[in-house]
């Protein structure tokens, strides 16, 4: 007798999962870097190719890494928010200029403003791979102890900064999770 209830039982389970699946955000991938030490990169500076910059120079202090490119429409969208975040001065923002043309990138910053304390030039995308970048813009929060605390994919807004990043700042500053 019970066996006749099996089909509808299974269907109900399936339907439940489908219902769950509807609301989920399919696009965002969880980052395996959260909680781990931020990958170290050493790249030429965007503004001065003869000088190099490594994020190891920022050890002991929290910082934000923002992956951007002049070719990236979303980066243009979020640029205003980044300028505002930079203006507030809570945390320095480091730019990772991903797969870009140096001149175009510099022009872009000149036209739109530069929220970055420095931008590293990752034209081959190798640093991007280390950071698990799959679609700019991406924004990371790194703690003073060098661990990745948060990753946000898609254009950042001031709201998202205030609601998702700012609450983590004490933890970031403290240096230990």
């Amino acid at each position: 007798m019970l066996k006749y209830l099996l089909p509808i039982g299974l269907f109900t389970v399936l339907a439940g999962f489908l219902y769950f699946g509807l609301g989920r955000d399919k696009q965002t991938l969880p980052s395996p870097l959260i909680g781990k030490s931020a990958p170290i990169f050493e790249l030429a500076r965007l503004d001065d190719p003869s000088k190099s910059f490594s994020n190891s120079e920022l050890a002991g202090k929290p910082y934000v890494v923002n992956v951007w490119g002049s070719w990236c429409v979303g980066c243009r969208q979020e640029h205003g928010a980044l300028l505002e975040i930079a203006r507030r001065g809570e945390v320095p923002i480091v730019g990772l200029n991903y797969r870009d043309d140096r001149d175009q990138a510099l022009n872009w910053l000149q036209q739109l403003g530069d929220p970055y304390v420095v931008s590293a030039f990752d034209d081959e995308g190798r640093a991007g791979i280390d950071w698990g970048v799959y679609g700019a813009p991406e924004t990371f929060l790194i703690g003073a102890n060098g661990k990745v605390l948060k990753k946000h994919v898609a254009p950042i807004t001031v709201e998202i900064w205030e609601q998702e990043f700012v609450p983590l700042l004490p933890q970031a500053k403290a240096g230990s999770p």
Partner: protein
């Protein structure tokens, strides 16, 4: 004007689905012939208005009316006329209208060809079909209306996705839909039988042709999609286990189980619960497929629409239809238990395994397709389940099934004795093994054990499927269409397996750079690019290369692969140059320009690849032959059949 007329016609069609459903179901329940007649009229009316609505949509496409949003999104003034019609079903909204039209046509078919069946039954069937049509009509009107206007009108349209501008892809959706929607008929018959509380072998005889026709069209639709992907997408693959492809394959597998289970119910009055459940499941999987493609739940390169709002509607509809049917099943199925049995070795046993293994294969694919979604729902890591998983796991149930097929075909009902046939089957198995070795090791070289296993199974099935017809013909026994159809269909399956096994085992591909005047060698052939020229198409600009293929100095073929850029959407598309033969394809596709007139090319050698689609076509042909059997055209009443069966000896 035409758009508004189309919209209005659709509303009228929806209105008519309601009396179709109500009078169809209640007319049968309360035994009111007048109501049943009304339901039939509603079916005809609904069909007329749906057809008119579809015609209006076609009209606005033909006349490039870019004030209709859907036309502006999917067409363009430079689009050739043929593709303007195909664009009608090129995206979400229009394809749903096509679904509705196909659904209405099937319902009309049932109403028209129901002469042999009791009115009680067909009225319920039409009623259920009315419920389904009502659901789709509501879905279109509320969430996916193709007749919405765009003010101010666009000066020109966004063009049809260039991938879809192809003859095979123009007919692929209609074929698929005829199949998907066709399974709603056995579904409706199942619900009707459950509502009536009666399910017998005569019911199975009525349902079988409907299920077989739906299955045939689905076979053709899937094969067309595979063939199109092969020559159009440029990477030479023919199946990617993409969620949407799986969504079409699952109903096909269940449909195959269904037509076999129906055979048992028709001949012996057994497997009633199985047949009922399979009837419900086939259409449920069609609906599930629709849900997966349009709700954004699963990522796919095929996905139509990623709209959770629409997804919610379909999910609710799914729950009503499938949940309702399965609830009925839980209630009524115990009624249909048969008190007859069969021997452990018998045709029924083999078909039981057939059912089980096909269902297992379907569940494997379902799990693989939805697993990423489950993991996500539980907040676990996102995983990917792709071809490496499916290619391996699909064989787990399928390999045993293929090997059971050869003896199974020759098993007698009730109690099978293999005495007379086992020598023949044994010889055929040895011959199959020898042939497999000859083809694989002999012709192409050693690949793997699986290659031999696959080819042996295929050759064995091929041989076994010819035994019965040949014997009957030689001994002057009757050779009804159903026997011929069965043999042809199984033979087609064998051809498919030969094609798939050979091409996957022995294909050779390479990427390289070539410029005019250069020659390269691949898979025993020489490829020379002779020239490169610009070619203009109706709505695209292309670079075409000419590649001459020779073997041992003799010219084998000249192909003209192109790299096109479609002017409106600006996508680059590859048109591969293919030299096709029954036993192998040579496939040349252009990649990127590398500077200095050189281009990157992908060259592929694909042995026996055509057998894949040829095998599928033969399978469908087998189905067609089977339904031409005389017994489906004889009018058999309930009393006559009982007398015949009681007196007759079952073979």
């Amino acid at each position: 004007m035409a758009a508004e007329l189309g919209h209005f016609a659709l509303i009228l069609a929806f209105c008519l689905t309601l009396p179709q459903a109500f009078f169809g179901l209640m007319g049968a329940h309360w035994r009111r012939p007048h109501w049943i007649a009304l339901a039939n009229r509603a079916v005809a009316g609904q069909w007329v208005f749906t057809l008119f609505s579809f015609a209006c949509l076609s009209y606005v496409f033909y006349h490039n009316d870019f004030s209709v949003l859907y036309v502006a999104q999917n067409s363009n003034s430079e689009l050739p006329t043929f593709y303007r019609f195909a664009a009608v079903w090129g995206a979400h909204e229009g394809s749903l209208l096509l679904w509705m039209l196909v659904q209405a046509t099937w319902a009309l078919g049932v109403a028209a060809f129901s002469g042999n069946m009791p009115q009680q039954m067909t009225s319920r069937v039409i009623g259920v079909l009315g419920v389904i049509s009502a659901g789709f009509a509501l879905f279109i009107l509320l969430t996916s209306n193709p007749f919405l206007r765009l003010w101010p009108a666009a000066p020109d349209g966004r063009d049809l996705n260039p991938l879809l501008q192809d003859p095979a892809l123009a007919i692929h959706p209609p074929m698929l839909y005829i199949g998907y929607v066709g399974f709603s008929v056995p579904f409706a018959f199942a619900v009707a039988a459950m509502l009536e509380g009666k399910l017998d072998s005569l019911w199975a005889r009525w349902v079988r042709p409907w299920a077989t026709v739906a299955w045939m069209f689905l076979t053709c639709g899937i094969a067309l999609g595979s063939w199109w992907a092969y020559y159009e997408l440029g990477w030479g693959g023919w199946w990617f286990w993409d969620p949407v492809e799986n969504a079409s394959f699952m109903p096909w597998l269940i449909g195959t189980a269904l037509i076999h289970s129906l055979a048992v119910t028709e001949k012996r009055g057994l497997f009633k619960s199985w047949t009922l459940l399979l009837s419900i499941t086939a259409f449920s999987l069609s609906l599930l497929g629709t849900f997966l493609v349009r709700s954004g739940v699963i990522e796919s390169v095929h996905a139509f629409a990623s709209d959770p709002g629409r997804g919610l509607f379909i999910l609710a509809f799914l729950c009503v239809c499938v949940g309702g049917a399965l609830g009925l099943y839980a209630w009524r199925a115990p009624l249909f238990r048969s008190n007859a049995g069969f021997a452990p070795v018998s045709r029924e046993s083999f078909l039981l395994f057939n059912n089980i293994l096909l269902v297992a294969a379907t569940v494997v694919i379902l799990i693989g397709t939805t697993y990423p979604m489950f993991m996500d729902a539980f907040g676990l890591d996102k995983v990917s389940v792709g071809p490496p998983y499916f290619e391996a796991m699909f064989l787990v149930p399928m390999l045993p099934m293929v090997f059971l097929l050869a003896p199974g075909m020759h098993a007698a009902w009730k109690k099978a004795s293999f005495e007379s046939i086992k020598k023949t089957l044994g010889v055929l198995l040895v011959v199959a093994l020898v042939l497999a070795l000859a083809v694989s090791v002999g012709a192409y070289g050693w690949n793997s054990v699986m290659t031999i296993v696959g080819l042996t199974a295929a050759f064995w099935v091929a041989g076994a499927s010819l035994v019965d017809p040949i014997n009957r013909w030689r001994n002057g026994h009757s050779l009804p269409a159903s026997i011929i159809g069965m043999s042809v269909a199984h033979f087609g399956l064998a051809l498919f397996i030969i094609g798939a096994t050979t091409v996957e085992s022995y294909k050779k591909e390479t990427d390289l750079s070539l410029k005019p005047g250069q020659t390269t060698e691949h898979a025993g052939f020489e490829f020379t690019m002779t020239k490169l020229e610009d070619v203009a198409g109706p709505n695209y600009q292309a670079v075409q290369s000419e590649v001459v293929i020779t073997r041992n100095g003799k010219q084998v073929a000249v192909v003209h692969p192109q790299k096109r850029v479609y002017r409106v959407q600006k996508n680059a598309m590859t048109e591969a140059g293919i030299d096709a033969h029954w036993h192998r394809d040579l496939f040349v596709a252009m990649g990127e320009p590398l500077g200095g007139d050189a281009w990157s090319l992908r060259l592929q050698y694909k042995p026996m690849v055509r057998f894949i689609w040829f095998g599928a076509a033969i399978m469908a042909l087998g189905g067609l032959i089977a339904i031409c059997d005389r017994r489906y055209r004889k009018r058999v009443t309930v009393d006559e059949s009982a007398a015949a069966a009681a007196g007759a000896k079952t073979a």
